[in-house]
Subunit: 378 residues, 2 copies
């Protein structure tokens, strides 16, 4: 029996609220042995108060030593085993622009780039063209026509766009065309499986027609395609956890991830204050709120049964990237077994009552503390 | 390879003794943040001495956030994955009255209830009739005869009884007849699989004859049937751990669970003193003793190679029920890596050398510390 079979049978609706606050990339490293981490250095009176009232710990986003991208990082937080449900980058990008992906669609992330007369890439991001320019170019790309497949081209931001192929017999196992370095030519799309050959052919034809359309543009005179993927079949949070869930998130990527597990999107908002206002306004309508933000030590007036603050992965400034280091987490509820932690930081959380655990168990812990899970077995 | 395949190949008999003391529902919560738990408040000089000599930790009975019933709680302690081996309610109830269930028997939990003239239930527990009345009614129900199947009706307690169907071709996937609310009629027993149709037919006929027998009784003039189940196929502790195991337990439920994994039952006993005497008397006959008791801080004279004290689940007085909070555990053996824990309590065990772990690994830890497991691999 897997954990979702278990929770499907045990969850109860008791009208309690659960708020999961995800601070992007929370968790870091001291710059010197014995030093303090970024979080330990910051002044965080609100989160410290939460740590005192709640129970703390450290979470492995996936498994010890595994550095997660935002996809696996969030799936874990939402209570899905990130090794069981894998999401291609194209799918993430499409979900992030509110694109309604069908189950057979192949989604691809596109980047505008700059090439010289030999087709060698001179700028992989086409000078980071503004989004308005991206929108304009995407409109031109909609002139591409390929027999037997419906094409959708949608702008994302700056030099990024999404291409979706809709048709029969398309699979997503196709290599990126981005050579990942300046000076090389874009690669031909290459199928890794027989079932993906048709996808590769369509992608190649799309690139050919697109190059014709773009060749006199500057600096975005070419494109690369990455992250070919189909949407994975994934049960909703309502199905497996009995939660009517809403996402209060600004960035498309996180909105897309939340939509993948069936969350309702609250309208896009620009600031943390807007997000808090959206939370208040929709308080009665949902059981669970996923609140994603770039870090600040803020507090809100609502009183959920369970309030969790954590991150989707560590991002030590020393490494200047996502990392595998376990992420601090604090869970506050009247039902928690409090610990000695009175400050929210990595070294304090290490001594917390939640111990070190895999992120995919966070949701069962949240449900338990909200008294939304019945006893298992007699 | 699962853990049992591993231990089957590695276990050795070295005549060492292992004693697992399970204190019912050990583990709780502080009433206020920063306060002490029930266990931390209690005076426990014997267990504190054990903690000082041994290695401590906290156990998840099933997984983080999952509250176990006594069934899954004990299966974990006995070294069985409680998500792999699930026990139906009827089986637990039958085991709990020392009923010797056969491998093909279907066990069902029965409740006497009260219905009005339209057969609508007015009291799902028949006014909680006393056990003596239950015994009397059960005797009357033994008059029921159904072709091709042997029926056993046994009283449990108050309004509860057990019905066992013994015959060929009976499976246990049948829905409860209890509508779970007052005002509704008992449901017809409904098979969820073709293999369970015969069971459903027999149950329907049993209910029909039973209603005739009970119709002039008051208040128990009807019954409902719940938790249809067969005994799960489960290897014995001798098979997977090489242990000749005995149960020293007072309550039927725990005796039943121990019998399920092949333990020998020492005769029922009324007090902890009786239990200790039974342990002494049978010391040479067994390798492993499961000693279940309602909490006291006691000590015994025997010197097992490994002595473990723990609980089957937490039961915080604040929640007045089983809970998901991890359960304190201490393991004392000459082979253990001692830690700094000198007091047996939740916050101390949190800092113990066993860390936090799933209960299903307790038995391998016990075997290891008893030097009953060989090296795995060359």
């Amino acid at each position: 029996m897997d954990i979702h079979e278990l929770t499907r049978g045990l969850n109860v609706d008791n009208q309690s609220k659960i708020v999961l606050v995800v601070s992007d990339g929370l968790g870091g490293l001291p710059l010197r042995p014995g030093g303090k981490t970024e979080l330990e250095t910051a002044r965080t009176p609100n989160m410290d108060a939460l740590a005192e009232r709640g129970v703390s710990g450290l979470m492995f986003p996936v498994l010890p030593g595994i550095t997660p991208g935002s996809g696996p990082g969030h799936l874990g937080l939402f209570g899905y085993d990130p090794l069981k449900y894998t999401i291609g980058r194209g799918v993430l990008e499409a979900l992030g622009i509110d694109f309604d992906l069908g189950p057979k669609d192949v989604a691809i992330r596109g980047n505008f780039c700059t090439v010289d007369e030999t087709l060698a890439i001179t700028d992989r991001r086409a000078g980071r063209i503004p989004t308005e320019k991206c929108v304009e170019l995407v409109k031109k790309l909609r002139a591409v026509r390929i027999d037997g497949v419906e094409l959708f081209v949608e702008p994302v931001r700056d030099y990024r766009f999404v291409l979706v192929l809709r048709g029969e017999g398309l699979e997503g196992d196709v290599d990126d065309t981005d050579p990942q370095r300046v000076g090389a030519k874009p690669l031909a799309p290459k199928a890794r499986t027989p079932g993906s050959r048709r996808t590769a052919e369509i992608a190649a034809e799309f690139v050919r027609q697109a190059r014709e359309i773009l060749k006199n543009e500057h600096p975005a005179n070419m494109l690369t395609l990455r992250g070919f993927a189909r949407k994975p079949p994934i049960p909703t949070m309502k199905e497996v956890y009995g939660l009517k869930a809403a996402a209060v998130a600004v960035y498309p990527m996180y909105r897309g991830l939340a939509r993948l597990v069936g969350m309702t999107m609250l309208p896009p908002m620009a600031t943390v204050e807007d997000q808090v206002a959206a939370l208040k306004k929709n308080w009665d309508e949902f059981d669970f709120f996923f609140f994603h933000y770039k870090y600040t030590d803020s507090t809100a007036a609502m009183k959920p049964a369970v309030l969790i603050v954590t991150g989707d992965h560590s991002t030590p400034s020393k490494l200047k990237s996502h990392s595998w280091h376990p992420v601090p987490v604090v869970l506050a509820a009247d039902t928690c077994r409090t610990d000695e932690v009175k400050q929210f930081g990595e070294s304090h959380c290490l001594r917390g009552g939640l111990g070190q655990f895999e992120a995919r168990y966070l949701l069962t812990l949240a449900l338990a503390h909200a008294e939304r899970l019945q006893k298992f077995g007699a």
